[in-house]
């Protein structure tokens, strides 16, 4: 019993984020003119997936006490790479996807090496590499465009039924056992798969625990003999990999590649907001990538709500800004609880 209470209090921020998301999403569906429908769910999950991935990408360096200002740029670079590669025979497409994801991880690896061996502060190192990645993206796609396999693009951005129907699995999606799950949107499945198959094993590994330890106190982690360099490089590489998944999905969603610099910046900034709303401390050491997924969901659900309430489009940026500012200001309640002023200076 006591154990549960401790676990609850340790994950209070994550649970709050989940609760806010559920409330706002239920609110959205109750007020939606046509009520809850699978079509709306599919559309929503498509709009959420890329930001959720970029937010997860941002989480790993933040947990380490750093910040990655290049996540949006990596996403954009992978988007432009994938827009050249995702066509041809199934084997070529599969190879293209592998190359795209590897490129994302490689960008993260470069970030990690510059931070670890160059000993440059993460925020400024990734500011610079972000410019380089955007330059490469512009080189690959001077103007928007691309050639993306239509079947794959269609299947990946719909429900599971469309995957089965497109590629002829489960009797073209008509098999009886398949019916209970055939309505689930593909991006949601992918989101869960990435969280369960990539994030959870990483967070439980020695390298993952070291990332948390470095964020809590790098000196103590060093004195404990933890593999700090390896953890830092792994944190940035995993971040690059997540951003790469986001870029790859963006390619499938838009069927094109676009080296859009303002879009890259917007994704980077939103990823920081999502990380904070998801309960991860910018000081490092506390939080999870799962929280950041919910942070991204909350940010997007707020925009969904604007859409159905037909708020003047000119007022939308103001509302979004106020909500963002209010959300990050929630952390200020810490000030009221502090008994010793010196505890504030961390």
């Amino acid at each position: 019993m006591n154990d549960i209470r401790v676990r609850l209090s340790q994950n209070a921020a994550l649970l709050t984020a989940i609760a806010i998301f559920i409330l706002s999403y239920v609110f959205y569906n109750m007020n939606h003119p046509r009520g809850f429908s699978v079509a709306v769910l599919i559309q929503n999950s498509n709009e959420v997936f890329t930001l959720a991935m970029v937010a997860m990408a941002q989480t790993v360096p933040v947990l380490m006490g750093g910040l990655d200002l290049s996540v949006g740029a990596i996403m954009t670079l992978v988007n432009t790479i994938a827009s050249h590669l995702l066509n041809g025979s199934p084997l070529q497409i599969a190879l293209g996807m592998v190359i795209s994801l590897a490129a994302g991880a490689a960008c993260g690896f470069v970030n990690g090496c510059i931070v670890v061996y160059g000993r440059i502060q993460p925020i400024i190192a990734t500011l610079a590499t972000g410019a380089i990645f955007l330059g490469l993206a512009l080189f690959l796609r001077p103007s928007p465009g691309g050639n993306v396999d239509d079947d794959l693009s269609w299947a990946a951005t719909n429900d599971l039924y469309e995957i089965a129907a497109t590629y002829g699995y489960a009797q073209n999606g008509e098999a009886a056992w398949f019916q209970p799950i055939s309505w689930i949107p593909v991006p949601l499945v992918l989101l869960v798969l990435v969280a369960v198959l990539v994030w959870l094993p990483f967070a439980r590994s020695v390298t993952g625990r070291t990332v948390y330890a470095v964020g809590s106190g790098e000196g103590a982690a060093y004195m404990s003999g933890l593999p700090i360099d390896r953890a830092k490089i792994a944190a940035f590489t995993l971040g690059g990999f997540f951003a790469g998944i986001g870029g790859l999905y963006l390619t499938l969603q838009t069927s094109s590649g676009n080296a859009d610099i303002p879009q890259a910046g917007a994704y980077t900034l939103n990823s920081i907001a999502a990380v904070v709303i998801g309960g991860t401390s910018l000081l490092g050491g506390v939080g999870t990538a799962i929280g950041s997924i919910f942070g991204a969901l909350i940010l997007r659900t707020i925009s969904f709500n604007f859409r159905i309430f037909e708020i003047d489009p000119l007022m939308q940026p103001l509302f979004e800004g106020v909500v963002l500012l209010a959300a990050v200001s929630l952390g200020a309640f810490r000030v009221l609880r502090v008994k010793n002023t010196l505890e504030l200076f961390r």
């Binding site: 510059i114 160059g118 512009l138 060093y222 900034l269 907001a273 910018l282 800004g321 200001s329």
Partner: protein, 326 residues
């Protein structure tokens, strides 16, 4: 002084840790000018880059970035950062042109001051990390300006005084350059000669220690953010004068170069160390680099890559941190 006797000759020519970035960046500026001049001599047969007109014109363009970077440096020295710069610039410009008349410039500065005040209060009193709080303020300012202008470039024009300050010349010297010089001298005096300046360095090194030593840390943080916001507002007002009107997203191109200029000039991104002269040279370096690359007709992709590479190489040479071992 009871320190060990030093050989005066060797100490005079030995570079301190803070001088190294300044000397290296100044050297790099010469390299940029040399490469650019060789290029123009080869293609056009003239050394355009070395003419006083060209250099003064670059400094005039650099003044807008330089004023922003001066404010940004105060905040970075504290160990904080101000990401609300883009829409503070745009808001200063838009409100200045909207009000017009003799009050235009005070309003532009005032808007920046208010944004800075909000930033400072949030960071110093609510203790929200500056990275995320200023990001939120930036979003709110963008929302306010979109609501105010309807999402289009406002029809209002910059006043004559704003245009004069941005593009006018006295004895061949751009007025914008003089404004930048005045701001620079003021910031330099503030950092070197006043208690506030010393407190900024102290807070950047260790806020808890500064607090225990009796520094009113919260007020100093608010002051620094106010100055940063006000300088961004000033830069926005001048920019509106330069292009004769305000427009959406006019400040977007200033945030990252301002941070880069401060850091290239040797100011530590975590605060506490750095000299204003370095920031000045960092701004000139970035402006000249941009200009030479555009003279060489380098496509945007190549510019971004070179830009990023220069920042990393400069920092690899002198900005390396120490390994944490305890």
């Amino acid at each position: 002084m009871t320190s060990l006797p030093q050989d005066p000759a060797s100490s005079r020519f030995k570079l301190g840790e803070d001088d190294k970035p300044i000397v290296m960046s100044a050297g790099f500026i010469l390299v940029i000018l040399a490469v650019g001049t060789i290029y123009t001599l080869y293609t056009q047969g003239t050394a355009t880059l070395l003419s006083p007109e060209y250099l003064l014109q670059q400094l005039q363009v650099g003044a807008f970035l330089g004023i922003v970077a001066a404010g940004m440096m105060l905040v970075i020295l504290l160990g904080h950062i101000d990401l609300s710069i883009p829409w503070t610039i745009a808001a200063g410009a838009m409100m200045a042109t909207t009000v017009g008349g003799p009050m235009a410039i005070p309003v532009g500065l005032g808007v920046g001051l208010i944004v800075g005040l909000v930033n400072g209060l949030g960071v110093a009193y609510l203790r929200i990390p500056s990275m995320i709080f200023t990001l939120g303020v930036n979003a709110v300012m963008r929302g306010l300006m979109v609501a105010h202008t309807g999402g289009f470039a406002p029809q209002t024009a910059a006043t004559d005084l704003m245009q004069y300050l941005a593009v006018g010349k006295i004895l061949g010297i751009p007025v914008a350059l003089m404004v930048w010089a005045v701001v620079s001298i003021a910031v330099m005096l503030l950092l070197q000669r006043t208690a506030v300046g010393k407190s900024i360095y102290a807070i950047g090194n260790k806020e808890a220690a500064a607090y225990l030593a009796g520094v009113p840390t919260k007020r100093v943080i608010v002051t620094a953010f106010c100055l940063c916001g006000m300088l961004a507002g000033l830069s926005g007002t001048l920019l509106a004068g330069y292009s004769t009107k305000a427009y959406q997203g006019m400040g977007d191109a200033y945030l990252l170069p301002a941070i880069a200029a401060v850091v290239i000039g040797g100011t530590h991104i975590l605060g506490g160390r750095g000299r204003y002269l370095g920031t000045l040279i960092g701004v000139i370096l970035i402006v000249l680099l941009n200009s030479v690359l555009s003279i060489m007709q380098m496509p945007e992709s190549g510019r971004q890559i070179i830009y990023g590479t220069v920042i990393i190489v400069m920092l690899l040479v002198y900005g390396r941190g120490r390994k944490v071992t305890s």
